[in-house]
């Protein structure tokens, strides 16, 4: 189905709810003195939007607004993920001491707008829409990163983010302009048809796709487009860092999959995809190399970090490399594993940043020394939760992260990429070392005399507990989530 502007609005209500919330908050910000209420309003808006999104399940796949936006299970999946990340981030922000310093009204407005942009990254069916979605997310992210007042790190991180982001998106649309020139359209279906005819110069096409990959990869923090991530993670307010690490990654995965699968590939027998017109062999090699470089670079750089947020940034780069493995195999099992990992990563990484926030609230520090003997300083529960999240990030059973990694590695072994599988597994062992340095500091080291007791932020405890329970439950019984991600692979095929 292919709907016009007015008819589309009837299937667009999650976005309308979210946009309405943003507008209401903007007006309230002008008239209401108590800004804390805005957090609860934002939270309510997200939950209503979540309900609306879930309500849309079962609708037949449709193209809205003259083929600009796709409504299918795939985009609904990423909308749910984005909203879940928003709910988590707002909940975190309520308890965060850092966020209390900023202009709260603007903070929540810009945060919700960032999530709104991610909706379009996930559902764009046109290069223009993809570009606009990505830019909306980028611009709001720059603002949120630089939002901490009188904070040099925050301002510096925002500037670095801006420069890297500007170059990446410039490179990306340069590639898009070439694709437009060769395919004759910005619409994914037309591009797909033109590729099927073998249109365009192969080398120019290859370069154009590499440029586009750079833009998308920058959102996911692939090496060598990852330079912004450690600085931004460290400089930005912690709740936003948590949101960025999971949601920006998820949106990057969404836009990448939607462009490289329905737009430029065809679905063959038994769920296997094939790139059209692209020299397939070179693509696969390029993706394998990118994946290996990304995970290895991320893990090796993380080894020496003393700042936990920065360490988690490098770990995020490594995880982008793991997720990338799913793209290499060109079949539905790989995509499924990627979606599964996105959900699992959302849960465990948000949890880890929540603990970082709790420690920062109590001590005002983010470096490793602030975690010394955390378990014996009155914060045993956050410490145990952190251990669970880190075990999950490492990929140890029975945590959800293990299942995510199992599915990814299973997909690439099925595709017979044994070298990639072994490299990924050795990377897991490397990552154990730096994750476990945190665990060692929390449990094995004795607190120094100057380390005071850590009072855990009360409002964050229910969220923390829920994330920990989810991490373990999904590690033992993951069939429902797997069914959900399998069901989310429905693309609107042109």
């Amino acid at each position: 189905m292919d709907l016009g502007n007015v008819a589309s609005l009837s299937l667009f209500y999650p976005e309308i709810v979210l946009a309405g919330t943003i507008l209401v908050l903007t007006i309230l910000d002008l008239v209401v003195a108590n800004k804390r209420a805005m957090a609860y309003l934002g939270l309510a808006g997200c939950l209503v939007a979540l309900g609306a999104t879930v309500d849309l399940y079962g609708t037949e796949p449709t193209l809205l607004f003259h083929r600009m936006v796709a409504l299918d299970n795939f985009s609904l999946f990423f909308k749910v993920v984005t909203l879940a990340a928003l709910v988590g981030a707002i909940w975190m922000s309520i308890g965060s001491g850092e966020v209390r310093q900023v202009h709260l009204g603007e903070y929540y407005i810009v945060l919700l707008t960032c999530g709104f942009g991610m909706f379009f990254m996930a559902s764009a069916n046109n290069l223009l829409m993809a570009y606009l979605g990505l830019e909306l997310v980028s611009l709001t992210s720059y603002i949120l990163t630089g939002m901490l007042p009188h904070n040099r790190r925050s301002a510096e991180a925002a500037l670095k983010y801006l420069i890297y982001g500007g170059v990446a998106s410039g490179t990306m649309i340069y590639g898009m302009s070439w694709v437009f020139g060769m395919a004759g359209s910005l619409d994914y279906a037309t591009i797909n048809a033109a590729m099927a005819e073998g249109g365009g110069n192969q080398i120019a096409l290859f370069m154009a796709f590499v440029f586009i990959l750079a833009g998308f990869g920058y959102k996911m923090a692939f090496a060598p487009f990852h330079m912004w991530s450690p600085d931004v993670y460290q400089g930005a307010p912690t709740p936003f860092t948590g949101f960025l690490s999971v949601a920006s990654n998820a949106a990057g995965v969404a836009i990448l999959i939607r462009f490289f699968y329905p737009a430029v590939s065809t679905l063959g027998q038994e769920g296997a995809w094939a790139f059209q017109a692209l020299p397939a062999l070179q693509w696969t090699d390029l993706l394998v190399a990118l994946s290996i470089i990304t995970m290895t670079w991320g893990n090796l750089s993380a080894l020496n970090q003393r700042n936990v947020k920065r360490l988690l940034a490098y770990s995020g780069i490594a995880h982008a490399g793991y997720i990338m493995m799913g793209l290499v195999v060109l079949n539905n099992d790989g995509l499924n594993a990627m979606l599964f990992y996105v959900v699992v990563y959302l849960i465990m990484n948000l949890g880890a940043f929540l603990v970082v926030m709790i420690v920062a609230n109590a001590t005002g520090r983010e470096d490793m020394d602030a975690y010394r003997g955390l378990a014996w300083r009155g914060a045993a529960f956050p410490a145990v939760c952190m251990m669970v999240f880190l075990a999950s990030l490492t990929g140890l059973p029975p945590m959800a992260g293990f299942i995510g990694k199992l599915l990814l590695v299973a997909a690439i072994i099925e595709g017979q990429f044994y070298v990639l599988a072994v490299v990924a597994m050795i990377n897991t062992v490397v990552s154990l070392y730096y994750y476990w340095r945190i665990v060692k500091t929390m449990f094995l080291d004795e607190p120094a005399p100057e380390d005071g007791p850590v009072a855990a932020t009360a409002s964050a405890m229910p969220l923390l507990g829920a994330l920990m329970v989810l991490t373990i439950v999904l590690g033992v019984y993951w069939a429902p989530l797997l069914d959900y991600t399998t069901g989310s692979l429905g693309f609107f095929m042109p």
Binding site: L127, L128, Y131, L132, E135, L139, Y142, I143, G146, R152, R153, A155, E156, A157, A158, L159, K160, L162, I163, G166, V167, G170, T171, I173, Y174, M176, S177, W178, F180, G181, G184, S185, L186, P230, D231, Q234, G235, S301, N304
Partner: protein, 97 residues
């Protein structure tokens, strides 16, 4: 015509990219990014002449986004200038390895 336009666009894009890599003044780097965007605009308009009007529409959006980016970017540059009294990126060294 198309070849000349695309060559110019490619040259502009390379100059822009090169500028970001070698210049150290944040405002100049930012201008180089704008140069990249203009290279893209030129390519889009040139292609549009042959394949359809969509490219010209894209150009309008790129211009709008560039304006928004300039607004945010200059705000950030001002905020960092307040801290450091300089916009030379080599001096911004709180965050590294």
């Amino acid at each position: 015509m198309l070849t000349e336009a695309l060559t110019t666009s490619a040259l502009l894009f390379v100059i822009g990219t090169f500028g970001v890599l070698v210049r150290r003044n944040a405002i100049i780097m930012f201008l180089c990014i704008e140069l990249q965007l203009n290279a893209v605009n030129l390519a889009l308009v040139a292609f549009s002449r042959y394949v359809g009007v969509e490219g010209q529409v894209f150009v309008f959006f790129v211009m709008t986004v560039a304006a928004a980016e300039a607004a945010v970017g200059l705000a950030i540059i001002i905020s960092i200038f307040r801290h450091y009294r300089t916009v030379n990126v080599d001096n911004f060294n709180l965050l590294k390895w």
